[in-house]
Amino acid sequence: MPGSLRRVFSNPATGFVVRFALLLGVEVVVYPIATRRWFFGVEALTAGTARIQYELLRFVGAEASLDGNLVQLGDFGVHIIEECTGIFEAIIFLAAVLAFPASLAKKAIGVALGVPLLYVFNLLRILVLLVVGRHRPELFEFMHLYFWQATLILMITSVWLLWIFQVVRREA
């Protein structure tokens, strides 16, 4: 490895960013190819997410219905698509965990705990959007922007920092 390149990788921040960008680059090229070939996986994930959302609403006694991937709370409904499954958050999180300087075991713990945690957060934000859309429709646009774009990376960063503080540093 040339000296200048070695210096870049030896700086923890720069090294992480370069590794993160490379890993994310690989993931985002592979993902469309993989989902084109095995699209049933995406279909199963969206259908499963819609079903879980519906069961959650029924569990709390809400007036819910499910029609394909359309979850209705009263007269307000959301169509669960690929973007609603948390898969895109998981892709970024995976790159961040794998790029961080930690042992393979700790990275495995990060992925095994972090991805389901992001999925749970994802279910919660769909739930909040359904409740807001049904009861406070004037706030829906704000909440949708907040939960989908504004806090996407904040949610990933929070889970990633939680992993660093609770797993990587604690067991070091």
Partner: protein
């Protein structure tokens, strides 16, 4: 926990501010400023780009720069000043990829394969910038992570 509370406390009002004022102002600014650059890349229409939904990425970047503990104020302010034009360039790139990947003149067979990587990089860009600009805090994190106890 405190960090998460700070993230929420800061991101909520900033997103609200973005929605009521920032979004339309930025879109007007973007159309006026990025047009020459985009036209040079072959993009003719900016106004209808679906990439505009991702313009809010200034909010998570500013929030991360502000809530990061033990980061000097000069580094915070300098980082934000440096990050804002870089995010603008990221938006230019995203709009260009989205527009060029599915125009009527040059239809792409699989636009998702082109748009998806650009959209994901745009989503991750505030995190990437923060990781780079908050480097001092990083050194502490990575060093402690790799120090045996």
């Amino acid at each position: 926990m405190r960090l998460v509370a700070e993230l929420v406390a800061l991101s909520l009002p900033l997103t609200w501010l973005w929605l009521v004022w920032g979004q339309s102002t930025y879109e007007s600014f973007f159309v006026a400023t990025a047009r020459p650059l985009l036209e040079a890349l072959g993009v003719t229409s900016v106004a209808a780009s679906p990439a505009r939904h991702r313009f809010v990425s200034y909010v998570p970047f500013v929030v991360l720069m502000l809530v990061t503990p033990r980061l000097g104020w000069r580094r915070r302010a300098g980082g934000i000043l440096l990050g804002v034009p870089l995010i603008f360039l990221c938006h230019v790139g995203l709009v260009a990829v989205e527009s060029l990947s599915h125009t009527r003149q040059s239809p792409t067979r699989d636009s998702f394969s082109l748009v998806f990587p650009a959209a994901m990089f745009a989503d991750a860009f505030p995190f990437l910038l923060w990781a780079l600009l908050a480097g001092d805090v990083w050194r502490g994190l990575a060093a402690r992570a790799s120090t045996p106890r």
